[in-house]
Each structure stands twice: as structure tokens, then as C-alpha cells.
Assembly symmetry: C2
Homo-oligomer: 318 residues x 2
């Protein structure tokens, strides 16, 4: 997508010059992680928000860089927490330099993000966002060990993990554009809702993602008995298919290929796939309602990204 490509390009020089200020050891290690690139979703939202509000471009680039650094801190640490060995098809940082070293790089990158915002408005807001991201990840880990998780709890966790930073990115941009409290709040809610929409898209791809497109085996979340939003919806649907899925999960052992295919069919039969797809649409519409006054075609295009992303990566069969 053009807006993402442009944002990635635009933010690159400042991102690189900020990373260059890290002390030697950390800088060399951080380079491995950042060489992998990234989708630049958050910078794209920052830059589009800035244009919609006629805000200063250089300030927006600083905000975009700060937020992108904080985002990468979560990626580096989450790979350790989840023991994920690859990211964007490359070795995850901790597999190259060790767990402690990767954690230290992550911490430094987070501090670098906060430092980047120094002199602009909202450093405290971004720091608060970091604590919310930690709470989201903490809930995520806790839920994996619990037998039952309610949809509300899972939504709160998803908001914490994906929503708050996207909301913060847009809010910080509005704040530094001199927008009043109401507009800042509207942009925050815009980002939070879209973050949740992205989470729904991710969760759907964890069940029906196309292996060739996503790089992960199709149905991997089901195989690993994860409790994502559509899966919780299916488990608690009160349908016959839902009851069978509960039984499969209750065995507590990773599913083989046949069982995974069966689990996919069961989730689909509960209606959870349509429900989650409708939720993406609903969240996108809700998000756009918060910023409709700006009439920005870019914000509209970015808001629909979650659905585009899902459509392009999901497998045709259900």
C-alpha cells in the first residue's frame, strides 16, 4: 500500500539517526532487528493524521519515529515472551544474541522512543501507553494459563496490546498540532478502535491465514489451543459445534493437522468467522465516525487497511 511505503520511507532517516545514538553494544544489536524493516502502520497513521490536521511535517516525523521505536520495543520483547524464533522471515533478535541481550536492546529502544519525544508534548502520555502495553501483554500471558477467558476480558487485552499505541500515535499527533482536548480524544478513539479491528484481522488470520502469504501454518492458533477473539466466541457460542470445540481444547494437547482442520470447520459452523468479520467492519465504521469532520481520504484509506490486510492474507476456503 502506497501510504505505508511512503511512511516507511519518510520515517527512515530520523529512525536511523536516533538508533545511531544508542551506545555501541546495543546499537550493533538493535541493527539486526531494524534491518528487518516493518509495515510502518503507526508512522502511516501519524503522517495521515498530521496532514488531516494541517500539522507540521517535521513534528509528525518525530512523533512517528518515537511511536515506531516504542512499537519495536514490544516486538523485541514479545518474541522473547512467546519464544517466537522468527520475525518477518528473519531470526528473532533473542535467537541471535541471547535472551538477556535482546531484552536490554528492547528496553533501550523503548527509552529511545520516549527520549525522541522530549521537547514535544505528550511524553507522559507515551510513557503511560508503555505501561498499558505491558498490562496487555501481561493479561495475554495470564489468559493462556487460564481455562476460561471471557470475550470482554479478551477485548480489554486486545485493546491494551494493539489499540492503545495506535490511539496514542494519533492522539500525540493531534496534541502536537495544537488540537483541543475533544479532537485529541477523538483521534485517540479512532486509533484504539482500529487497533482492535487489526487484532480481529490477526486473530482471523491465526485460524484461516494462507500459509504461503502469512508464513505461518494455517490454523496455527487452533493447533496451539490459543484463545483468540473468534475462538473464544466459538467456544462460548452455546452451539453443538462450540461444544465439540470445547472438548477438543479440553484434551490440552496440541492439535495435529486433521484435528486442526476439524477445529477450523467447527469455529466456522458457530458463526464466529462472520461475527469477527462483521466486527472489523463495525470497528472501522466506528473509528471513522470519530474523525469524519476532517474529511480526510487518507484516514479513510488507512482505516480500511485492517480489512484489506485480512482479505489479502486469508485463504479462500473456510
Amino acid at each position: 500500500m502506497k501510504l505505508l511505503d511512503e511512511a516507511r520511507e519518510a520515517v527512515q532517516p530520523l529512525l536511523k539517526s536516533r538508533l545511531d545514538t544508542l551506545p555501541t553494544t546495543l546499537r550493533q544489536r538493535a541493527a539486526h532487528h531494524f534491518a528487518g524493516g516493518g509495515k510502518a502502520v503507526r508512522p502511516a497513521f501519524v503522517l495521515a493524521t498530521a496532514r488531516a490536521l494541517d500539522a507540521d511535517h517535521d513534528t509528525a516525523l518525530t512523533v512517528a519515529t518515537a511511536v515506531e521505536l516504542v512499537h519495536n520495543f514490544t516486538l523485541i520483547h514479545d518474541d522473547v515472551h512467546d519464544q517466537d524464533t522468527t520475525r518477518h522471515g528473519r531470526a528473532a533478535l533473542w535467537t541471535v544474541y541471547g535472551t538477556s541481550e535482546a531484552l536490554l536492546v528492547g528496553n533501550a529502544v523503548c527509552a529511545l522512543g520516549l527520549e525522541t519525544l522530549d521537547g514535544l508534548k505528550g511524553v507522559g502520555r507515551l510513557a503511560r501507553c508503555v505501561t498499558d502495553l505491558c498490562e496487555g501483554q501481561s493479561l495475554d500471558i495470564a489468559f493462556e494459563q487460564r481455562a476460561e477467558v471471557s470475550l470482554d476480558e479478551c477485548l480489554r487485552m486486545s485493546a491494551g496490546k494493539t489499540g492503545v499505541l495506535l490511539g496514542c500515535a494519533c492522539a500525540l499527533t493531534a496534541l502536537n498540532a495544537g488540537a483541543d482536548d475533544e479532537v485529541v480524544r477523538a483521534f485517540d478513539r479512532f486509533g484504539v478502535e482500529l487497533g482492535i479491528a487489526f487484532q480481529f484481522a490477526n486473530d482471523l488470520l491465526g485460524i484461516w491465514g494462507d500459509e504461503q502469504a502469512t508464513g505461518k501454518p494455517t490454523g496455527s492458533d487452533l493447533a496451539r489451543l490459543k484463545k483468540t477473539l473468534p475462538i473464544i466466541r466459538a467456544l462460548q457460542s452455546g452451539t453443538e459445534a462450540g461444544a465439540q470445540l470445547v472438548e477438543l481444547y479440553a484434551q490440552g494437547v496440541e492439535l495435529d493437522e486433521d484435528q486442526t482442520r476439524r477445529a477450523q470447520a467447527l469455529v466456522a459452523r458457530t458463526g464466529a468467522r462472520e461475527w469477527a468479520e462483521a466486527e472489523i467492519h463495525r470497528r472501522v465504521d466506528l473509528a471513522l465516525s470519530f474523525v469524519e469532520k476532517t474529511g480526510s481520504p487518507e484516514l479513510t484509506a488507512l482505516a480500511k487497511l485492517a480489512f484489506v490486510y485480512y482479505s489479502s492474507l486469508s485463504s479462500a476456503d473456510s
Copy 2:
């Protein structure tokens, strides 16, 4: 020490109210760590600096709280990195809630520290200090895996691990007292030198600490073949005793009680103990030279803390 007790008491209400703002899960877990108390060395330096500069007390309390939070982030994470199971005689956070959970609490506590400073001067400075602390810990881990580490490298690591935050604590206080650049820099150097003095004291206690007073077996750093400042000095002394220590270390296996006693005697024979004790005195004097214009008896008392601390905890025999 009275200055420490007063600082601990003074900072407690704000520290507690800041911790109360953490999201639920993190707050409950952080409570375990903070119930252990702490020496409040950094708050004591902040408050003494503020009095020496006739600065606003409430602002100083905010700075002290911010710095104390960042310090506790490093403690929580270091216990994970070093797999230390206890802290101040209580179970380390990660042994109670798990590694990932402790790391997340630590990250949130760090962000909380930076957020606490929002509205005052120096958020960027404190964030930069966090990256320096990460570099220091990263070097520490790297050195453990290397056969040879020079004294200079070890000093740089010690400055990163202990000096920069104490320097930052004093500098932030001076900065917010409206001091000019030169004074801020002087207080920074004051703290950095004392941080290194503390590191020398710690390193000496790691060899000759009294088991009953420190809670750690005497000679534990030698037993674990650690390369601390006095040990490196001994290893590289070019003396006969130094050569024998090199041989002991080259075996690469943890030392038993007899070997540890022998290693203690060898280090002493190289003169490394006297050297390190002299280094504490030299650093304390150097530190005081940076702030002598203030004529503050409190700063003088605190500066001598490193030596008091070492004297009170070390065993009489060498």
C-alpha cells in the same frame, strides 16, 4: 543512617501514589517487589542536592520518586538476568510470578518513572540514562563470557551500571533547581564518581563481605569466578600471587571453600584490596571537589556513605 531513613520516609507517599496508578495486574505484582523496601540511596542524594541548592522540596520529591522507580526497574530486570532468587531476604519478583511477568512489571515501573518526571525538566535526560543502564548491564553480561576484560572496560561498565543513575539523580535535581549548565554538570560528575565508589565497595564486599552482615557467602564473587574491579586488578597485577589466581580461574570450575579462601589470600597479596580501598577514597574526594562550593554537610556525609557501607559489612580478617 539518618539521611537514608528520612529520604525513604519522605519519598514513600508519592512513590505509593504513583504505583497505585499502574493497571491492576501490574500493580498487584509490583507491590510484592516494593514491599521489600530499599536503601533509598538515590532519593537521599536528590533531597540533599535540593537542600544544598535551596531548591523546591516537592519538585525534589518528584525527581526522587522518578529516579527510584527507574532504579527499581533495573533491580527487577537484573534479578531475572542474573537468576538471583532473593532480594533483601525476600523472594525475587520473577520467582513468584514468572520471568515474563516480572519483566513486564519492570518495564512498566520504568515507564512510570519517566512519566513521573513529565512536566519537569530532564525527561529526555532520564530516558538517555535508561539506555546507558542497559548498555552497562549488557557489557556486564558480555564480560562474564569473555576470558579477559581490561580494567578500563570494567570501569566503563561500572560507570554505566551504577554511576550514571546517581549522576542523573543529582543532575536532574540541579536542573530543576534552575542551576546553570556548569553546576548541573558538576552534580552529574559528583554522582557518577560516587556511583563508581559504591561499585568498588560492592566489589570488595563480594570478596570480603561478612556473611552474617551481607547475607551472601563470603568470597562469593571469587567462588563464581566473577571478574570484578579488584579481581581484575589482581589477575593483571603481574605478581606471583596474581599468576596463581589466573591459574585458579583458568580451570573454569566454581571454587570450593578452601579454594575460595586461597583466592581471597591471593587477591590480598597482589595489593588489590588496598588499591580498591584507596580508589573509594580517591573517588569520594574527587566527587566532593565538584560540589565543594555548596559547602553542604549533607552532601559530604552522603559522599562518605560508600566507605561507611563497605566498612560496616566487610569482615575483619583479610
